[in-house]
Each structure stands twice: as structure tokens, then as C-alpha cells.
């Protein structure tokens, strides 16, 4: 009996065949690991009103912030806009806060928004796409015309508009979860379009016909026959989509920072740096690098997954 190839062997093979994809996966895993250790509390110089980064967390890799004196000059002043050094890997910003710590916490927010938005978008988009593609005819046509209309809305303008009018919240500010849901809702049209096109071809497969012959209901065919077979497309959409959403969230908190939930985000850091042109650009540069890295990582992942999972592109 041939030995079953080990998981490790598979990973090594994948890395050799798709080096760029492997880099992408590595970066994504790194992003997730970073957010596990990210502090929830307050970090920063104790004299700052909000102590943006606390010293109370226990994770070893953040322990270097234990020394509160690291936020002060020898003569007692707050270290403002200092260049990257051993104490502050990315330097400090205009309020003396550690940029590395803020970048890490920003990653948590980006991933949170990205994942929840994609859950909303894929669940609703897939449902619409499968139903619309499966039952062709008048239902399909009318759904698709409405989707065409929705797709004609410029996405970024739609986002800014929904976030500012904010129909989901009673207060003046949207919560982070609401932002994620809004981003997801805007993405539904794109998801359902791809899913529908896949379903249109899956529907014609013989095993679907066989299911119909043995008397399976439409619901059973959609959930048990079609859904498992379009899983590859869903996974690809999910991973590529996260990059798009992270970018959209950053763009949103750059362009209308007062309308999105407060707190530390890459977009906010970028916009802060941009409104203080002429100061040292560290906060902006590092948050820009973080956004670019995250988007690149999820793009590479999506590309590699597409190559591996999509039978039409599987290399001979």
C-alpha cells in the first residue's frame, strides 16, 4: 500500500511550486499571530491621557514595554516623532505613542472588519447566486437586473454615503461591527455574480440530474449537490475579498475619519500623518506599508488558491 503523503510533505511541495503563494500564506499567518498578542488595554507613556498602549499585557513579545521610561527622553520629555530604534521599532508618533504597537492593534481591526465583511458578503451573495442560478427563468432575470442596478452604484461613494447616513445605529457613530456589515453588504453584488456563473455550469452536471431523478427536492440539490461543488470558488472569493475589504476600510477611515468608529486603525494613522504634512512621516509610512503588506498577502493567497483549487487553471 502506498504511503499517504504527510501534511508537511504537502506544504513543502506547495512552497516549491508556488513560492509567491507561500509568501502570501506566511504573511497572513503572521498577521493573525500578531493580533493574538495585541494588547486590548492601554499602552504608552503614563502621562498621556488615554495611555494608548498599556503595560499591563503579559505577552512576552510586548513585555519590552514594561519600562515606562522608554517613552521619555533622558531629560524627562516625552519622545515625540522619534526615529525607529531598538525601543520603538517603528518610532513614535506626534503624541509619543509607539507606532509598532499601534500598527499591531490596527491589524486586529483590519482583520476583524475583513473577515466579518466577507462572512456577510459570501453568505448572502452565495445564497442569492445559488438560488438565482439554479432556478433560471423570470426569477433569475429579475434578480440579475436588480443586481445590475446595485452594481452600477460606485462602491466607494455608496460606502461613504451609508456610513455617514448611518441607518443602522441610533447614535452618531457606527460600531466596528456595523462598518464590517456595511462593507459586506456592498460586496454582495460582486460575490453573487461569480457564484451564479459557477452554478450555471454546475447545474448542468450529470450528478445534479441524477439527484433530480431520484427525487431530491430543489433545496436538497442546492445544498447537498451544488454547494459542496462550488466550495472552491467560495474559498477563493473569501481570501481575495479580505484584501479588498481591508483596503476599503483603510480608504474609508482615511477619507471620512470622523464617520467611522474611532480607535486605532491603519487608515486613521495614515490620515493623521497626512493632515500633519511636514512632520516626520513615520506613522504614515509604516501604516501604508502595513496596508500594502496585508493587501498583497491576501492577493497572493487568493491567486495561489485559485491556481490550486480551480480545475480549469490547474497546471498540467
Amino acid at each position: 500500500m502506498p504511503k499517504r503523503p504527510s501534511v508537511l510533505h504537502g506544504i513543502v511541495k506547495f512552497c516549491r511550486k508556488k513560492p509567491l503563494g507561500a509568501i502570501g500564506f506566511g504573511l497572513v499567518i503572521l498577521l493573525f499571530l500578531l493580533t493574538i498578542g495585541a494588547p486590548t488595554g492601554k499602552v504608552g507613556a503614563p502621562s498621556l491621557p488615554d495611555r494608548p498602549f498599556g503595560f499591563e499585557m503579559s505577552q512576552s513579545f510586548m513585555a519590552r514595554y514594561d519600562g515606562e521610561d522608554k517613552f521619555y527622553d533622558p531629560d524627562g520629555g516625552l519622545k515625540i516623532l522619534s526615529a525607529p530604534d531598538a525601543d520603538h521599532w517603528f518610532g513614535t508618533d506626534s503624541a509619543g505613542r509607539d507606532i509598532w504597537a499601534r500598527t499591531v492593534v490596527g491589524a486586529r481591526r483590519s482583520l476583524f472588519v475583513g473577515i466579518w465583511a466577507l462572512i456577510v458578503a459570501t453568505v448572502i451573495g452565495t445564497t442569492i447566486g445559488v438560488v438565482s442560478g439554479y432556478f433560471s427563468g423570470i426569477a433569475d432575470t429579475s434578480t440579475q437586473r436588480v443586481m445590475d442596478a446595485l452594481q452600477a452604484f460606485p462602491p466607494l461613494i455608496a460606502l461613504i454615503l451609508i456610513v455617514s447616513i448611518n441607518p443602522f445605529a441610533s447614535g452618531d457613530k457606527t460600531s466596528l461591527m456595523t462598518t464590517a456589515v456595511i462593507l459586506g453588504l456592498v460586496g454582495i453584488t460582486a460575490v453573487q455574480r461569480v457564484i451564479r456563473s459557477v452554478v450555471l455550469s454546475t447545474r448542468e452536471q450529470q450528478y445534479v440530474e441524477a439527484g433530480r431523478v431520484i427525487g431530491a427536492t430543489d433545496f436538497r440539490i442546492m445544498t447537498r449537490y451544488i454547494l459542496p461543488n462550488i466550495m472552491a470558488s467560495i474559498i477563493i472569493i473569501f481570501s481575495t475579498g479580505i484584501g479588498v475589504v481591508i483596503l476599503a476600510e483603510a480608504a474609508l477611515s482615511f477619507i471620512v475619519p470622523e464617520k467611522v468608529p474611532g480607535g486605532i486603525s491603519w487608515g486613521n494613522m495614515l490620515s493623521e500623518s497626512y493632515t500633519r504634512l511636514g512632520e516626520k512621516p513615520y506613522p504614515g509610512l509604516f501604516s501604508a506599508a502595513a496596508i500594502a503588506t496585508a493587501v498583497l498577502a491576501f492577493n497572493l493567497c487568493g491567486d495561489a488558491l485559485r491556481d490550486v483549487l480551480d480545475p480549469r487553471l490547474r497546471s498540467q
Binding site: D148, A149, I255, V256, P281
Partner: protein, 340 residues
């Protein structure tokens, strides 16, 4: 073909009607919320219930909410068909159609420049990368394109501005790299919006965002073009062309490139779509008075709903018809595509 175009146009009209109805409905669904957000603009001021009620009434009148719903709807559609998008709800109550028209010129200029730069960068790189597949030059060019794909355009623009403000804030290059909002005001090249015309100054405003936007588009076009060229270069008719003894230049440009460009059109269409939508981010960052900056401005202050609604409808109409043009041009470029 004619039947196809007519059918598509009718279908597009339906789509536009759905868009208009949605836009109409969205305001009515949440009108109390929007009206209450406009209280800050109220001249009467005050916070007694009586004064607030008056303010809300003024806001409702400005938004056109003071008639019955069917009446509002017929008015809205009737005006829309005539190209009248109503008046802004805030400030001088300017007519929105002319506001958008004025700004569209800036957006169109930026969009066309961006597309031009995108193509200038992407075409040679895509072609070279395909005909020298798997050589070091292909690897370098592909790495370049992947890097560009990863760096979002607006992030790139901000990084360029941050670095400029740090290291090149004075000197001969400064006016070319600094956004017009912080440097000088925008001037159009041929006196479209004012009596001034100053092409050089206009280029100082436009060149940096156009090149940066172009780089972003180039990354996408380049990847498509490369994979498409690779496919076309393996076709029988290209082998025949080689066998006939044609020169490489002729084979690449006449036989391969022409066929490889068809899918690239889709992306060109998407970029053209931003012509009128305005490149929201680039325009805001560089302070260019285009449609994108207009709409952000209109949303970011007290939401000026009629203005936003006007922009959304104009953009939707443009997008829908650009898509139609792209579909038609497929058939024109590739005679094998037949619409029936």
C-alpha cells in the same frame, strides 16, 4: 447586431430606472434621520420644539419631501428624464446638473491621463514579459507588477506626498509633486471653468495623480495582457506567421497583440467608468475639484442628499452605457463574437 444594441439599450433603461427608484426610495426610507442631520444648517436655530419643527420643515422642503409620495416620484422621474437633477439642499441651492457638469471635466481629464499612462506603462511591459517568458527580465517585470498590485493607489499617493513633504518640499520638483490643495489652486488647461488657461500649471496639478493612478491601472492591465499574449502566441496562426518568415515585430504587433488586447478592453472599461465617477481618493488627496471630491465633500459635511443622489445617478448611467460600448467593441474587434 442592431437588434442586440437596441435590446441592450432598453435593458439599460430598465436598470437605470431601478437605480433611480432605489435612490429615490433610500432617501424616503430614512428621511427622519436625514432631516435631523440637517438641523445644524438651519438658519432659525434654537432648540425649542417649535424651532426644531420649523427647521425640519425647511429641510423637508429643501429635500422635496413636502408632497405626497406618488407626487414626489412622478416629479422626480419627470425631472430626471429632462436631465434636471434638482437643486442642492444646502447653501446656495445650486442646480446640481451644472455643478456636476463643471466638475466632470476635471474628472474626465484625470481619468484619460490615468488611462494613457496606464497603457503607456503596461503595453510594453506586458508584451516584453510575454515574449521573453521565464527569463530574468520576465521575472523582474512580473515582480514589479505584483508589487504594484499590492500597493493600493491611494496608499502610494500618500506615501509620495509624505516623502515629498519631508525631502523635497522646496526645489524645482516641488510644484509637480505637491497636491494642489496645499500648494496652489487648481487651474484648468483650456479655461473650461474659468477664464484662466494655463496648461503647464494644470499639468503640475494633474501629472502626479495621473501617473500614480496610471501605475495602479498598469499593474492590472499588464497581468491580463501577459497571460493573454502567452495564449495567443501559441496559436496556429502565429506559428504560420513565423513559418511565412515574417519579422518578429510584425508578428507581435499585427498578429498577436491585436488579439490579446480584447480582454484588456474590459479593464479599460472599468477605468473609463471612473472617468465620471471621479477617482474619489486621488481627487481628495490631490485636491482636484472633480466629481469624486465633490461627492465626498457633499457627504462629509451635512449630508447634501440631492447632490449625492445626482452624482450616483449620473455615474450609474455612465457605467451602464460604458459597459454596453465595451460589449459592442468586443464584436467589432473580434469578428468571431456574434450577438444575436
Amino acid at each position: 447586431m442592431q437588434a442586440y444594441i437596441i435590446r441592450r439599450c432598453l435593458l439599460n433603461l430598465i436598470v437605470i430606472w431601478i437605480v433611480a427608484t432605489m435612490v429615490f426610495g433610500a432617501l424616503r426610507l430614512d428621511s427622519d434621520n436625514i432631516v435631523s442631520k440637517m438641523r445644524g444648517q438651519c438658519a432659525a436655530g434654537g432648540s425649542t420644539p417649535q424651532q426644531l419643527k420649523e427647521c425640519d420643515q425647511i429641510a423637508r422642503a429643501a429635500l422635496g419631501l413636502d408632497a405626497s409620495i406618488p407626487e414626489q416620484y412622478t416629479d422626480f422621474i419627470f425631472n430626471l428624464v429632462q436631465g434636471d437633477l434638482g437643486n442642492s439642499a444646502i447653501g446656495n441651492k445650486d442646480p446640481i446638473t451644472s455643478e456636476i457638469k463643471e466638475r466632470a471635466l476635471v474628472s474626465i481629464e484625470l481619468g484619460l491621463l490615468q488611462l494613457a499612462f496606464g497603457l503607456i506603462i503596461a503595453l510594453p511591459i506586458g508584451i516584453i514579459s510575454a515574449i521573453r517568458q521565464d527569463t530574468w527580465i520576465d521575472y523582474i517585470l512580473r515582480a514589479f507588477s505584483i508589487l504594484l498590485l499590492g500597493i493600493p493607489v491611494f496608499v502610494l499617493a500618500i506615501v509620495v506626498i509624505l516623502l515629498t513633504s519631508q525631502y523635497a518640499s522646496s526645489g524645482p520638483l516641488a510644484p509637480w509633486l505637491t497636491p494642489s490643495a496645499t500648494y496652489t489652486d487648481f487651474v484648468d488647461p483650456f479655461g473650461w471653468t474659468s477664464n484662466e488657461s494655463d496648461p503647464v500649471h494644470n499639468m503640475q496639478n494633474m501629472l502626479a495623480p495621473a501617473i500614480i493612478g496610471g501605475l495602479g491601472s498598469a499593474a492590472i492591465i499588464m497581468r491580463f495582457l501577459r497571460s493573454q499574449m502567452l495564449e495567443v502566441l501559441r496559436q496556429d496562426y502565429v506559428r504560420t506567421a513565423w513559418a511565412k518568415g515574417l519579422r518578429e515585430r510584425v508578428i507581435i504587433t499585427r498578429h498577436a497583440l491585436k488579439n490579446a488586447l480584447i480582454p484588456v478592453l474590459t479593464i479599460v472599461g472599468i477605468i473609463l467608468g471612473t472617468l465620471v465617477a471621479g477617482n474619489v481618493l486621488l481627487e481628495s488627496i490631490y485636491g482636484l475639484p472633480g466629481v469624486g471630491q465633490y461627492v465626498v465633500f457633499k457627504i462629509a459635511q451635512t449630508p447634501d442628499y440631492p447632490a449625492v443622489q445626482g452624482v450616483v445617478i449620473v455615474v450609474a448611467v455612465t457605467l451602464v452605457f460604458i459597459n454596453l460600448l465595451i460589449d459592442i467593441s468586443y464584436a467589432w474587434l473580434d469578428p468571431r463574437i456574434r450577438y444575436s
